[in-house]
């Protein structure tokens, strides 16, 4: 035993000595050679160097002077014009949006799915849409804070939505390199679009699966951790825990962790011209009396109730009605896969760029659907398994111009008895004067039900003032 240990130690020691000495030998020789070279040059160019030294010194002092004059000019603070996150004040930015919409159909419902507040078809006519206000900055050396509030102009007044309020760990926090934790409310990692604010979208509205499965975006309150593996190939994994109070979940009172998520992403480049990323995601949780949105349960239930009365149904409810207007209580699990591919000649996306993107969702949902009619409560245990996907392509053919097309498809819930599977087609063209302004014209054709077809024209502007955070891939 002792002998063995001794042998091992000797081997180790020998290896160490060998490796160490060779490294030293190499650097010594090199240093000597370098010294000689430098000496030779020095004598040859001594005068020249002295002269240049003076010039360099000048530049160096100039540079420090430039810093001070610069910081002074910063202090003068032009109101509302602090551009990037350079001082102790948070970076402040706002997204100004507005649009005109014209729909050929009076109804925007999707039979077989209950739409949340956000996922509904937008307002017709001239509207402001959402005005985003952003504040963000490092809290200290360990945390970063961000707030996005949306001011939504509704018919009955302005509604304030807390879209994102989160803190995120900075690399200084002590977690392993590549790991980040985010806490609060955020557009969590799920699919491609969910992480992005609507202003960054390539189309004026979100595709059908986002509207029905996520109410346009999942931003529940919770925490998420993610980790980029130390590999050359991009692999990122993570997961989160949430209160379970945002669509597709509902009724989370915060007494328990009602939902959780997991995800895995891979990505890389193909040569110099293109790059790609694929991901797989899962979101699992419970819904109690879900109708849509952030816990607006009862209010909406009432509306649905009124609607049912208007339609004047009598007696037996069809399964379709349960899915289209019912309240859901049960387990819901959502799976998604996404891909994104970016191509640009020589990788120079400023001039030309092609973006291909698609996501597929599968919702496994089993539970009780409740319909209330004339004070009478009807309940049914149903299988709400459904799925949907969209694929889109956007081509930037000149630095300021882009065109795009998108196809979205839904497959109605298993027990719904609906023959028709809703689909929608969108084409758009947009013009961006700079990185900060964009005008867009979009045409949608939606075939959401057997006799429900809708032609939509959307005209939209999106402008960003103040600080504007870097966009994700």
């Amino acid at each position: 035993m002792n002998k063995l240990r001794f042998t091992a130690m000797t081997v180790i020691f020998a290896v160490l000595v060998l490796s160490g000495s060779s490294a030293f030998a190499a650097s010594d020789e090199e240093i000597e050679a370098l010294r000689n070279e430098i000496r030779a040059m020095k004598s040859e160019y001594e005068n020249r160097i002295l002269e240049m030294e003076k010039k360099l010194k000048e530049m160096e002092t100039k540079s420090s002077r430039a810093e001070t004059t610069y910081s002074k000019s910063k202090d003068r603070s032009f109101p509302g014009r602090a551009i990037y996150n350079r001082n102790l004040n948070p970076a402040i930015g706002a997204i100004l949006g507005g649009r005109f919409a014209s729909f050929s159909s009076d109804e925007g419902d999707i039979p077989g799915f209950v739409l949340g507040h956000e996922g509904e078809r937008g307002t017709e006519g001239i509207s402001l849409g959402e005005t985003e206000l952003n504040l963000s900055t490092s809290v200290d050396d360990k945390f970063y804070g961000h707030i996005t509030t949306a001011l939504v102009d509704e018919v009955d007044g302005v509604e304030i939505e807390l879209e994102e309020v989160y803190v995120e760990t900075l690399p200084g926090v002590g977690l392993p390199t590549g790991a980040t934790m985010r806490m609060g409310r955020a557009f969590w990692t799920f699919g491609y679009l969910n992480e992005h604010h609507a202003h960054a979208d390539d189309f004026a509205d979100r595709p059908l699966p986002y509207r029905v499965f996520l109410d346009n975006g999942f931003n529940d309150t919770g925490a998420q951790i993610s980790y980029v593996l130390p590999t050359d190939f991009y692999i990122e994994g993570g997961g989160g825990i949430f209160r379970g109070n945002d669509f597709p979940f509902a009724g989370g009172e915060g007494t328990d962790i009602n939902s959780f998520s997991a995800f895995l992403r891979l990505g890389s480049d193909i040569g110099q011209n293109s790059s790609w990323r694929v991901g797989a995601y899962m979101l699992d949780g419970e819904a109690t009396s879900r109708t849509g949105g952030h816990g607006h349960g009862e209010e909406h239930a009432h509306e649905e109730h009124m609607e049912e009365e208007e339609h004047g149904h009598e007696g037996e409810e069809t399964h379709e009605e349960f899915f289209s207007a019912g309240m859901f209580t049960g387990d819901t699990r959502l799976y998604a896969v996404d891909f994104r591919y970016v191509w640009a000649p020589t990788g120079n996306i400023h001039e030309k760029e092609l973006l291909l993107q698609g996501e597929y969702f599968w919702r496994d949902e089993k539970g009780v659907y409740t319909l209330t009619e004339d004070e009478e409560v009807h309940e049914e245990n149903l299988n709400g398994e459904s799925s949907g996907w969209y694929a889109q392509g956007v081509f930037k053919f000149a630095p300021q111009w882009r065109i795009g097309a998108r196809y979205s498809q839904l497959y109605s819930p298993k027990d719904s008895d609906i023959e028709h599977d809703p689909y929608a087609v969108a084409v758009m063209g947009d013009w961006s004067n700079s990185e900060f302004s964009r005008l867009r014209l979009q045409y949608n054709y939606e075939k959401l039900g057997e006799d429900l077809s809708d032609n939509q024209i959307l005209l939209q502007y999106i402008m960003s003032i103040g600080a504007h955070a870097a966009h994700k891939y």
Binding site: L34, L56, S63, S73, T177, Y234, G347, E351, N433
Partner: protein, 301 residues
């Protein structure tokens, strides 16, 4: 049991054989632009592994925070970029996944624009002036003096990150700086004839070069920084050139050619691509060759 122990010590031996490799592991440098990767190679030699996030054919202001870049930055030890908001659209995303030694203010975080004197620092900043950078013009590498200044900071950082080889980096810096000084003095005498020559640029990418050579930048094809050339602006330039002709219209390899071609045809002024950065053309394989080539191209006009 005995076999197991032999096997175990063999494994240990192999592990130790491998571990010296990690002891002399290279310092991974993540450069935002090719010129800084080249500088890292000048200073770090074979002891660094330099990667550039952009190439000469890509406008460094507009790239995406691609998955591959996230992995690269995550596995790097030192970041060197132009700074002055040139990488503002993508670097912040990457930095979140970088090590704590590469965060602003840390030893592995080098922004060239913070080291050198900046040109065109605006007194007033407003987005109506185009995509101007409040910190000044970020294309700082085109004055070779700046390379010496940045090289010094880079050598200091490398010496701290890889303390074992501190003297190696310091010596290489001294060598680089003396070679650069030698070259600068040659270039300065070669380029005397360029002094005062009027020039039009596509985008203000060459301000540091023109300032160093004493050339006169009379205008840009972009009406405002970052805003693509418009017909009305080009027509104004055409009028201006008729009254005050310039010697040449220059652009980088990544700028589109239509505007300079149009103006060149209308006025008979030559339009050329200056390599701008490493491998901007076949002749510009390193920092020395880059300046050599740019001066030669300008003198040929």
């Amino acid at each position: 049991m005995k076999h197991f122990l032999i096997f175990f010590s063999f494994i240990l031996g192999v592990l130790f054989l491998l571990s010296p490799a990690s002891a002399v592991a290279k310092v991974n440098v993540f450069a935002c632009e090719p010129e800084w990767a080249a500088l890292a190679e000048e200073i770090g030699g074979e002891k660094v592994e330099a990667f550039s996030a952009t190439s000469a054919t890509q406008n460094p202001h507009y790239i995406r925070a691609r998955p591959s870049l996230i992995s690269k930055v995550r596995n790097s030890d030192l970041l060197i970029c132009s700074g002055a908001s040139l990488e503002i659209g993508w670097l912040p995303i990457l930095l979140r996944k970088a090590s704590s030694n590469m965060q602003p203010g840390s030893i592995g975080y080098l922004m060239a624009a913070n080291i050198v004197p900046r040109l065109e620092v605006p007194v007033e900043v407003d987005r109506s002036m185009g995509d101007i950078h409040p910190e000044g013009n970020p294309h700082v590498h085109l004055n070779p003096y700046n390379l010496i200044l940045v090289g010094k900071s880079l050598a200091d950082s490398l010496a701290k990150i890889d303390a074992e080889n501190a003297s190696f980096y310091k010596n290489r810096y001294r060598d680089f700086s003396s070679r650069m000084r030698k070259a600068i003095s040659r270039w300065e005498s070669e380029a005397k004839s360029l002094k005062g020559k009027p020039i039009i640029v596509h985008h203000k990418s060459f301000s540091y070069l023109l300032d160093w050579l004493g050339m006169e930048q009379l205008g840009a094809l972009e009406p405002k920084p970052g805003i693509p050339p418009t017909t009305s602006h080009l027509k104004n330039l055409l009028q201006q050139l008729k009254n005050n002709p310039v010697d040449v219209i220059i652009r980088t390899p990544y700028d589109p050619d239509n505007a300079s071609k149009w103006l060149s045809e209308k006025t008979g002024t030559k339009e050329i691509i200056l390599p701008y950065t490493i491998w901007g053309d076949k002749q510009s394989g390193d920092l020395f060759a880059l300046f050599e080539r740019m001066i030669a191209l300008l003198k040929k006009v």
